[in-house]
Amino acid sequence: MSGAIGRVLIIGAGQAGGEVAQRLRANGFEGDITLCGDEPIPPYQRPPLSKKYLSGELPLDRLFLRPAETYEAEHIRTFFGRRAVWIDRTAKRVRFEGAHELPYDALVIATGTRPRPLPAPGADLPGVHVLRTAADVDAIRPRFVPGAKMVVIGAGYIGLEAAAVARQTGLDVTVLEAAPRPLARVTSPEVAGFFLDAHTAAGVRFMLSAQAAVIKGETGVRAVGLADGSEIEADLVIVGIGVIPETGLAEKAGLTVQNGIVVDGQGRTDDPSIFAIGDCASRPLAAVGGRMARLESVHNAIEGAKIVAAAITGKPAPTEEVPWFWSDQYDLKLQIAGLFQGYDRVILRGDPKDRAFAAFYMQGDRLIAVDAVNRPAEYLGGKALIQKGASPDPAKLADPTVPMKALLTA
């Protein structure tokens, strides 16, 4: 196939788009590569946005995957700050805002996700923000000052990470969550309870099973009104209630979209010239027995890029890695391997009171996922066990005196 492809066009310059451009060159692809994105800057790491970028510890140029000048050095043409609006599959061209068009032999869609908008009146008032891009964080900064009252809507990882940085910066923080517990979609009640306690101890107020009905204010946000009629004062609101895959271009082009752009094991859509990777794509995942899944993570962006770079250059597909994730909150490093959905038993190792423990998720006798808080050996050991499809002895998993290494060789 490599012989037929002279021009690769990548739409979306996030981590997946940036990685696929680099990996094509690393695989020896000598044709044209054009990397396009609607943000005006080169691909950068998003995870630090709600952590060290929000805290001011890392400046933007430290987040870039590569310095801007390296794209030119690798003959990767960049086209930043322009939004793609139409894929003409017959002519194999993509149209951008402002009527510009670019041709392709292979197209890679890496458009990511957009934040789910808050369905409440007043959500467009100044001071109400989402946290997806560096520009979003820059917009948050003027109100992100000690003493300010911040309300976070949605207790997912982004919201809780922002809450942690806010407390460390000296803001007054209230977290509103519609579910009865934080992190409801992404972890077990055991681990969620630990983070609830950790944030509460750090001075965060939680309002669970609570829904924001209206954002009040005249020239800017003043308060968040709840469904029960009460209100919480706010100088700043961060909305973190999940994301929606950016599949509009693919849908308009007639590609199959079902919770993400549907691709095969090589990252191909139902048009053989068009690939999709990263948060916007749904692919068959070895970790769930080959079923279709859409992941939102760095691991998934990198793996998608490796798979598609291999497919385009005719190299063997990489071995799929167990999905992994992380979250930093206060002094707590949460490291996650595997997908916990469908577990029937959780095994704790270590005591959450020590701020260092792991939760292992079992499905039958098989280990399917681990959440490790300040326990890197449990994370990496657990990840290796999951990769092997192992059925470790639950008694040994629960016993912190049995080294993880010993479980791996058992």
Binding site: R66, H299, W324, W326, N374
Partner: protein, 106 residues
Amino acid sequence: MPKITYIEHSGKEHVIDVPAGMSVMEGAVKNAIPGIDADCGGACACATCHVYVDEAWAGKTGTPSGMEQSMLDFASEVEPSSRLSCQIKVTVELDGLVVRMPKSQH
């Protein structure tokens, strides 16, 4: 600016100026040196930026934290000189540092 020598597993050397304050990992990634993946970008979450610190420099780069050591225990081809390069901060004292890369990060 401190100069750092990165030696690929194949023996290929890269001498790079890395600003003080950056990590040894960032110096490699930002200059597209193959052999350091650093999938997580320096969050100490992936153990794919494993390097061997040249013996002569072991005293100046310090010792791994408990978190780093636990991650290293699960890296492949670990040696006593193994470090995660995202955890080594470049300082003027590290001018001339030499690090070698393992065969694979995975």
